[in-house]
């Protein structure tokens, strides 16, 4: 029971932390609940489909279908997170400051919400398909112990959701004017970590085999298999033994998002937002 609790807890927490950050990042956008719920629902349905076709999926691309699929959905998430951050850099601050004037921004806000709903969906899809496979295996075996194992899975789900909720409420306790900056950074780090993870999947599929040697190994200090290492892996892309290509992509993603946000932010100084009549 403990084993299944831990497995489900681990997968749920990885998707749940992403949902928590996305929720905190969209506190000022209306109708976010609907879109993010849709993202979660689509992710759950997708996870069942992916689990059902796990064998067929893996057999694609000379046996590397699963790795390429994982890399592809991670890269989709990276693009969506980037898009959201860049959009928020242009509009978010204004929206947070003048909540009543968001009428004209609602349409644009929805586009950013769709992007984040996709991020939530693919996160749930990726982690969820492993949970589905695992629980299906238990259920298929039957016997007296399977009831206990499924109970462990349910407890793991609850615990993972609980930790994610803690993160969300922790973020909400940050003063509103700073919340934007904090979530922007969290999303930037999240995206960079996902991009680095995508590189690893591509390399496991036999592509992108450059700079593959390990740059450092801190598994003795902070192992990625431990709870803290896992959390840091999910939140900021921590790896206890990253390779060169992963580092390059990680830093490259950070810099790219930062520069894009700078450019967009610089183009729309707050004064024009306040006077408004120029438009």
């Amino acid at each position: 029971m403990l084993a299944s609790l831990l497995i489900v807890f681990r997968e749920v927490i990885e998707a749940g932390l992403i949902v928590g950050i996305v929720l905190a990042a969209t506190t000022s956008v209306s109708r976010r609940g609907l879109w993010i719920s849709l993202g979660i629902a689509a992710g759950v349905v997708g996870a069942c489909v992916v689990a059902g076709f796990a064998g067929e999926l893996a057999a694609l691309f000379e046996g590397s279908g699963q790795e390429l699929f994982n890399a592809a959905i991670l890269l989709v998430a990276v693009i969506m997170l980037t898009w959201h951050n860049v959009w928020m850099a242009g509009h978010g601050k204004r929206m947070a400051l003048e909540m009543r004037h968001v009428g004209s921004e609602v349409a644009a806000g929805r586009r950013s919400l769709i992007a984040l709903a996709i991020v939530v969906g693919v996160a749930v899809l990726r982690e969820g398909s492993e949970v589905v496979l695992f629980l299906y295996g238990i259920a298929a075996q039957g016997g007296a112990s399977s009831g206990m194992m499924l109970m462990g899975g349910a407890l793991g789900l609850a615990a993972g959701a609980g930790v994610s909720a803690l993160l969300y409420y922790g973020l909400l306790s940050i003063p509103a004017h700073r919340l934007f900056a904090v979530t922007a950074w969290l999303i930037t780090l999240l995206a960079a970590g996902m991009a680095a993870q995508a590189v690893l999947f591509l390399q496991q599929a036999g592509y992108f085999e450059v700079l593959t040697s390990t740059v450092w190994d801190t598994s003795w200090l902070l192992p990625e298999s431990g709870i803290v290492g896992r959390l840091l892996h999910t939140l900021v892309g921590y790896s206890d033994a990253p390779n060169g290509a992963q580092l390059v992509v990680y830093v490259g993603t950070l810099v790219t998002i930062y520069l894009l946000m700078k450019i967009v932010n610089g183009r729309k100084p707050l004064t024009t937002a306040v006077s408004g009549s120029a438009a």
Binding site: A59, L133, A140, Q141, Q204, G206, T212
Partner: protein, 110 residues
Amino acid sequence: MNALKSLSFVLAASLWAPAAVGSDAPQGLSLKDHVFTPSIIHVRANEPTIISLTNKDDTAEEFDSTALKVEKVVASGSTGNIRLRPLAPGRYPFVGEYHSGTAQGVVIAE
């Protein structure tokens, strides 16, 4: 699903083809009754290796190793190739994540 499939196809096509990995054939590994055979795999250090895992159980299993940085689901009755990066000499434990009590093994690079 279709969009994702075609996306990964584009991704695959846009990158260069898989590099030929060593001259060695993949190392065979099988899983039966949630036990790996062989449970100790010897590989040459500092060279990439492929482990070919055949799942003979009737449930899916995930080959999981944080030391090797690999997570790979192998469906029931199918075979999956696990690519290992060039490893420094040492021991790298792995488990079948869904049955980690019995499905255990170690890769030894030397």
